[in-house]
Point group: C2
Chain length 169, copies 2
DNA sequence: ACCAAGTGCTTCGGATTCGAAGCAACTGCG
DNA sequence: CGCAGTTGCTTCGAATCCGAAGCACTTGGT
């Protein structure tokens, strides 16, 4: 583990800018999704993931993996989306425990309804002030960071407050 | 408003990597803050903002502005932090309506307790896979984006979709 | 000084989230 | 086959969040 050396101003700037940028972007996107289709960001991610699939369906677990999300939260949103008729849930054929989530026509319609505005927000807020080489660089750097994070050990190895002399507290 | 042209793969990659990176980073940071000091990310931001102030105190409104956050959410967290003795709330001298939030010694202690681990997480997860020139580039690009976003109009110009009479509202 | 409008914060109701516990179906081993 | 452990999803309880409404104080016009 890295020793906790203080961060220099550039590192701090990168960190803060990352946090604030994504926060502002997320707020703006959520606003648009709410206005255009009464969707939360998570709901949009779920529909978009389904739309991305060839037959418009996925297992619950695969969905949860695609969106970094808890199982219970996914169940909740799946219920909500099902009530609105945007998806259906059916037991998997080969495994009775599994649930296959499928995008309905209404779901596709909402997605199509919302997508242009979504792209517009991303374009206007994130991409507008960047040159294409900026975008390329940004994508490269953040992709490396993401891959690194994914490989990172689970937080169970996180530094405890106290020196662990035993099993902890 | 920009016309909704589809994004190319690099633009998509930058967008997705930004969202996922910040999401993963946030999760990791929250985990650490929880383990080290039972703080949520927002609570940490509030304490850190106060700690940043010369006398360790701020008005509620100024705090809410510093952290992108709703007033009611701030009230909720201020109550929580006050119950734990990490801050105090006192009416402002010059304006009875205003509330001055002040960091206590206990609050400073928790902050000091949590800080090293916080830096370690940021270092290990975000900075580790980057060269110093990467960090510099990242900071530069994201700072420009952030400044652009801050200048952006508050999203009232978004195409409103008519509210149909809800099915269960 | 008085009243209306404005400002700062809190309260309230509802939505969303997570982790833990629960339930049902599957798998491996004898 | 039958049992124990695992896996996939849901339910439950608690925490967190937001917007709207409410309350208390301040300000401006008369």
């Amino acid at each position: 583990m890295t020793s906790p050396r203080p961060l220099d101003s550039t590192q701090l700037a990168a960190y803060f800018a990352l946090v604030e940028t994504s926060s502002l972007l997320r707020h703006a996107v959520e606003q648009q999704l709410q206005d255009a289709g009464r969707l939360s960001y998570v709901q949009f991610q779920l529909l978009a993931t389904l739309g991305d699939s060839a037959d418009g369906s996925r297992r619950m677990t695969d969905l949860a993996d695609g969106v970094v999300y808890s199982r219970s939260g996914l169940t909740y949103q799946a219920q909500t989306l099902e009530k609105r008729g945007l998806i259906t849930r059916t037991p998997a054929a080969d495994d009775e425990r599994g649930v296959i989530v499928t995008l309905t026509e209404a779901g596709r319609a909402v997605l199509a309804d919302v997508f242009p505005g979504h792209i517009a927000v991303v374009t206007d807020m994130l991409l507008a002030p960047l040159s294409s080489s900026d975008v390329e660089t940004l994508a490269d750097i953040l992709t490396r960071v993401r891959d690194h994070m994914r490989r990172s050990p689970p937080r169970s190895a996180a530094p405890r407050r106290r020196r662990s002399k035993g099993t902890g507290e």
